[in-house]
Assembly symmetry: D2
Homo-oligomer: 322 residues x 4
Amino acid sequence: MIKTGIIEGAGFTGGELIRLLLNHPDVHLIFITGRGNSGQHIHEVHRGLYGETDLVFSEEPELDKIDLLFLCTEAEESRQFMQTYTIPEKLKIIDFSREYRLKENCGEFIYGLPELNRRGICKSRFVSNPGNFATCITLGLLPLAKNLMLGDDIYVHAIIGSTGQGRKSSSMTHFSWRNNNVSIYKPFVHQHLPEIHESIHQLQNSFRANIHFVPYRGNFTRGIFCTIMVKNKVSVDELYQLYTDYYAKDSFTHITPDNIDLKQVVNTNKCLIHLEKHDDMLLITSCIDNLLKGSSGQAVHNMNLLFNLEETTGLNLKATAY
Amino acid sequence: MIKTGIIEGAGFTGGELIRLLLNHPDVHLIFITGRGNSGQHIHEVHRGLYGETDLVFSEEPELDKIDLLFLCTEAEESRQFMQTYTIPEKLKIIDFSREYRLKENCGEFIYGLPELNRRGICKSRFVSNPGNFATCITLGLLPLAKNLMLGDDIYVHAIIGSTGQGRKSSSMTHFSWRNNNVSIYKPFVHQHLPEIHESIHQLQNSFRANIHFVPYRGNFTRGIFCTIMVKNKVSVDELYQLYTDYYAKDSFTHITPDNIDLKQVVNTNKCLIHLEKHDDMLLITSCIDNLLKGSSGQAVHNMNLLFNLEETTGLNLKATAY
Amino acid sequence: MIKTGIIEGAGFTGGELIRLLLNHPDVHLIFITGRGNSGQHIHEVHRGLYGETDLVFSEEPELDKIDLLFLCTEAEESRQFMQTYTIPEKLKIIDFSREYRLKENCGEFIYGLPELNRRGICKSRFVSNPGNFATCITLGLLPLAKNLMLGDDIYVHAIIGSTGQGRKSSSMTHFSWRNNNVSIYKPFVHQHLPEIHESIHQLQNSFRANIHFVPYRGNFTRGIFCTIMVKNKVSVDELYQLYTDYYAKDSFTHITPDNIDLKQVVNTNKCLIHLEKHDDMLLITSCIDNLLKGSSGQAVHNMNLLFNLEETTGLNLKATAY
Amino acid sequence: MIKTGIIEGAGFTGGELIRLLLNHPDVHLIFITGRGNSGQHIHEVHRGLYGETDLVFSEEPELDKIDLLFLCTEAEESRQFMQTYTIPEKLKIIDFSREYRLKENCGEFIYGLPELNRRGICKSRFVSNPGNFATCITLGLLPLAKNLMLGDDIYVHAIIGSTGQGRKSSSMTHFSWRNNNVSIYKPFVHQHLPEIHESIHQLQNSFRANIHFVPYRGNFTRGIFCTIMVKNKVSVDELYQLYTDYYAKDSFTHITPDNIDLKQVVNTNKCLIHLEKHDDMLLITSCIDNLLKGSSGQAVHNMNLLFNLEETTGLNLKATAY
């Protein structure tokens, strides 16, 4: 059994991680900290867990009692944690923040996108879990990068559910505002763009074009659905082959000839990708659950790799479907 | 033109009132105050109003410049306002809070349910606007009370949209929580029960039974849909006649032989009522838009009565419908 | 491995059953029939299953190749099936319809509510899976019946998601109508009332009162949330004890002192129950996922009992939660 | 009073048109036909109209009794109607279909986008009402075309509510599928693209670039929210001036410096437009209510122009807002 601890487990990603780990056959949850919640039962904060755990939020982490630590912290807090605490030599860490994602600041962390870095993750100790938009978009582009096919500007639209924004309440998270509403935010300057660029460069170092990315806020809770337009002269059949080959050994990313819709992946760790062409314009559609493949599910995937488990362990999740 | 002012116009009911008054043919909006918003344009807070008004939130009310004041304040604040400010002799007031609804505390205020007190309202100066649940439930019961038919306990369930809770953000207003969710609150002790009892007593002084009321939070923004069960031995046809007679002169409350659904009234000032019987059990279904017939629309209705306008003026609203 | 077949697996309950069985460690899915879909891949109908199964809808069932058959059929179709086909001697059957739920028509079928009939189910060959509303409401009442406490009339309101209505499209299932809408149907005469009465009678034979039941259509896809009012003179603490005792050995039904909300059980096989009292009025709140505890999850639970598996096998499902 | 008739008034656009015309001060509704609904009350189909009209669906149009006819018909049906019936000499017609939108097939019809053709519409007899996507996208581009600034390819994403698909039920309109879901359809080949091109050409004849358009299905009922990316070297301030100038005399289209969200226009006849720049990339955000500015509201706007009324008559609608 892998003994694990969680830092800041009271948020959306923390809750999702706890729900996954409670059902994971090889994991023993030792402690969970949560700012302002210490002493409370886990099921008082993540209310659906009533009947599944008697764990209580801890005040302090006990790093010497665990094999693996999940940092569900914001960027600055993650680094602060790494600098404040003495990390036991054998302790493995998976960090959810964007603090260690880029090579210039990553230290010993490896970028935890298994479809890009599986082998490296298996041999690593510290993993930086990718961003949710970055996961969805990058998976749509990797096979093109691998085949050095990215040259022109890339136009990306992606719509995300409300859990992408975190648990803190604001006028933008108010049900009365968000229900039946759509809006955009941070067009062209979303904080996940640098890691997308870096993942592409890892496979196609020559890539110099722009990625024009407009994120939409959707009126649903879970999921990211993105469409990517980029010019490409190869036939759609050849592209399908190329994508299928690239993801042949990946358990969660599937290329499908059918149209896809978001609920096919909600509450699963899957990424579904669909390709279409119109003249020289390629349209890539890609979707994930932002809290699973885009966050806590991918973290458990990375844990499975770090501990040499079958990569799907604990991640065969029943889709919500309807 | 009726010159009007609004106290605390930055909330949900204030916004709805402004949207109504801007299109009302006989109203001139003189000022709107909003705690913490003074100096801001109205359309910066109620963003959809872009292009419809250049008004700015005022710091202070100018009571001598208006004919009518709307108090969109909480209970204590309304009384505080009445005590702090010198109310000009001719100024009429419509208060949204529950401070002046009950006879023991109402002072010069009359309970502003036109279907119960139209004549009184027309001759009044101060009107206390009814609660949203109270409006929906009381309208379902008045014809029975009028005919002295209420004897047994009354069982009421009512589901309300998120705008019933006000603009303040909390975990219970978070889209991620409320979307696709249902829950209940304040069963048996909702603060609108006293005014419902008082309205019934006004027509049937002998009424002594209980009203068992369970309010549901629904995953929609606007509307109240309620079902009322009470034993009754009269035939449904006779009851229809009795309800139709009672509401014969009311413009907004309609009795229909067809099943009703909430969206038939959303974004209108209507109340729709449907009756069914099964043996001796009568089921009354009643629905309104909580922000209109349940709040700001009813306030405008009361204004029309106070100023001897046709009661539907400015209230022929297009339903959202879909 | 239990070899299983499914009749009419193209609907909502069929899809949910397939999703459960594909992840069940002790089940091998042999065939699935689906009227009008034979020859199609399962994932062409239940689109989210892309990448999880290559099964194809069969034209005809092969009853001699399986240990267990699920009938996801309507009432008349189930009986027709039982009469048309020769059922192999060792074949076990779980029927989703209401055809065999009531004792007068049940034949060899046992009513498959484990919290009421676990021991009987374990020894049975044919199980009639309970109705979704019946499951949610009956679980709220069983401990009272067990303690012979049901005397007065019972008032029930329950709101259900759109998947309760089945896959067939109609104006009432149209998104444009149902979104943000609420309505009621079949008040007092819902087809699940007889089985609720029968379950109560099994524990409290003297029960003669009425159950006044008003079903609501909610604007969500999954779940039933119900409130039950019934007079009771026992203290709420004693009632909690009594409920906790009754469900002490049940894995999926939990009594909680906290308020509950629907999403705590969505995508799980749980039933959560909460009790409150106001004077002599007891309010029981109960909620389930209509497709899981209310249908396909309960069927898998019954399968586990029929084959002497740990009852939670394959049913530790991650809640949707948000 | 303008005497009007409606052909095929039982659908979504027909219902919306009826709701508008019933409240329009200068209109008298003479007849409404509806295939398969003749003899039924209007409020039996458009249920929210209970209490607002006693009109009954007619079998046959009486063209000699009206001044204006609205054709809420599909493309082929509109032409068929025009060919089957003798159109009285003074009868004006507004057609909702796309049959007469393009110049090569328009006959005497003028393309009814007031922001492009107001003067022409005022002098016309037959108006072809624009498509909903076309309205939203074209309004975002007209000022650039007017200033001959469109040269590069244009990338458009737009998300539309379920009422865009019409009243007919299908698996794609099923609440269980569409709720909380997102998907795309007809990428690059949507049927509104030709009219968008033609409107641009009317102002910038030299335009030869592509419009890459991906339509999304959103999980809401009303509205279109679109984002348009196109390269442009002019400063955002100058562009604002240019857009403001272009729409200076238009009552419903507003340029705003603030971010916009869909519900600002839902249930109104407005189009809101926002501009942003990042380096040389211009992002235009534009939103409308697909049933109002995108359909029936625009038809009433055109009617006002045809009959020399103030263009906003009957169209000062209260936004749903929440």
